[in-house]
Amino acid sequence: VVASHARRLRLRWLLNALEEQTCEQAWEVIVVHDYDAETARRVIEDHPLTRAGRLSHLAIEPGTGSPSRQRNIGWRAARAPLIAFTDDDCRPEPGWLAGLLAETDGAETTVVQGRTRPDPFERAVLDAPHVRTLDIDPVNPYRQTCNMLYPRALLERLGGFDEVAVSGEDVGLSLRAEAAGAAIVAAPEAIVNHAIESHTLPGIMRQNLKWRHLAYLVKTHPEFRRELTAGLFWDREHLLVSLALAGLAAARRDRRALLLTAPFLVRAMRRRGRRPAALALAGAELPGLALRQSAEVAGLAAGSVRHRTVVL
């Protein structure tokens, strides 16, 4: 099942990668999207997988979709007892589906997470200052739906993805699955290559605004707090930038508070390596990085107020 929005070309590339799957068992692909009819015809209906009877699509009204809603529509339309999810910015390796299936045991409580890595074809993009990609060594705490397999019976029992969740819906589903007795097992041979997308600073700040809704995840699944840094921060970077911001604020009264910025600065300066050129580059990127991470923390603070639980 694939939910797609505003990525028609990457969707096409995903379909091409699915066409090359080596899995010998019967399988089908369902795409739930909001593209216009002409785009759907060119990208999906004219694809060889459609001609082979393996690909179908469901169009929803533009502006009404969300990953949760689209995935729910997709798995409910599927006929198979096992539902594999990937995303429209991913390129599964030919053995992906077979790799996921190899870890299933027929039990209705076995969920499988595959390995996701930044797409080797796009590795040069990592040189950009603001990039978005995923690097997942299963099993990780976030159980991203770019590479997961759920038994359909379990999805039915859980009611699928929480459509109220704007972000973190994939973690939420896996937490409910575990609470229902499911085990999440790793499939390191089921590899998905994830796009590496470069953004402008305003662009990535705008995109990361959605993470403010992660407070909803922690509100509805308090047990997830154990995965947070110090039980409060989404990740280590957020802890360090929060310390730095606190240090800057307190420095007006006591300049020694500036020492609180040191952990953030050291980590930020070393992110490109330790050679002089790498340090110079990291220094040039430092203001943008600080701004981006501060905005993420501010967004989460706003989300914390909205959802009445603190996550930074």
Binding site: L9, W13, F121, V125, A128, S198
Partner: protein, 177 residues
């Protein structure tokens, strides 16, 4: 039979590659009485130092050729810009914005997953070149097949040796601009 106006001034941009296509087409168009002008790396190539700096930050190759290509277009003017690479198509599209001149794009290499998003801006450049040009033509069956598979596009195939076919295409584009 060419429906293009006689003596059409065609700028054949190949600063980003596709010199063979440009040369073959230039010879054919000249034989038909048109006035083709090939603008390649020698006149509009990338600036090595700036190119290295951009490459180190992961940018697509050839971006620094755009200002020089624009200058070359400004020098002599043209009735049609024919771009042979995605970078050249960016120049051509900029020129169209300035002078309202039609853009024909003939990618000299087949689109492939390996390079469509391999660097910063690569995907944006490819999308603009294929979506925004007035006409996109495949010069070979390999390019046509690559466009079909990776871009979900059905391209008309015109061999670079078919200057009459291209001249007719220019004529149609001029009528529509």
């Amino acid at each position: 039979v060419s429906s293009a106006p006689a003596g059409l001034r065609v700028a054949l941009l190949h600063a980003g590659g596709g010199g063979e296509i440009a040369a073959q087409l230039a010879a054919g168009l000249a034989a038909l009485g048109h006035r083709p002008r090939a603008i390649g790396p020698e006149a509009a190539g990338a600036v090595p130092l700036a190119e290295r700096a951009l490459a180190a930050r992961g940018f697509a190759a050839g971006l620094t050729s755009i200002p020089r290509s624009l200058a070359a277009l400004a020098r002599d003017g043209c009735d049609v810009v024919h771009a042979c690479s995605e970078i050249d198509a960016q120049t051509a599209l900029l020129w169209r914005r300035l002078r309202d001149v039609p853009v024909v794009f003939t990618p000299y290499v087949p689109p492939a997953r390996e390079n469509l998003a391999s660097r910063r801006l690569s995907l944006t450049l490819a999308t603009r070149a294929f979506d925004d040009s007035d006409a996109v033509v495949a010069p070979s069956s390999e390019v046509r097949e690559g466009a079909r598979r990776w871009l979900a596009l059905e391209l008309e195939l015109i061999d670079p040796g078919d200057a009459e076919g291209y001249a007719a295409l220019y004529g149609r584009c001029i009528e529509h601009v």
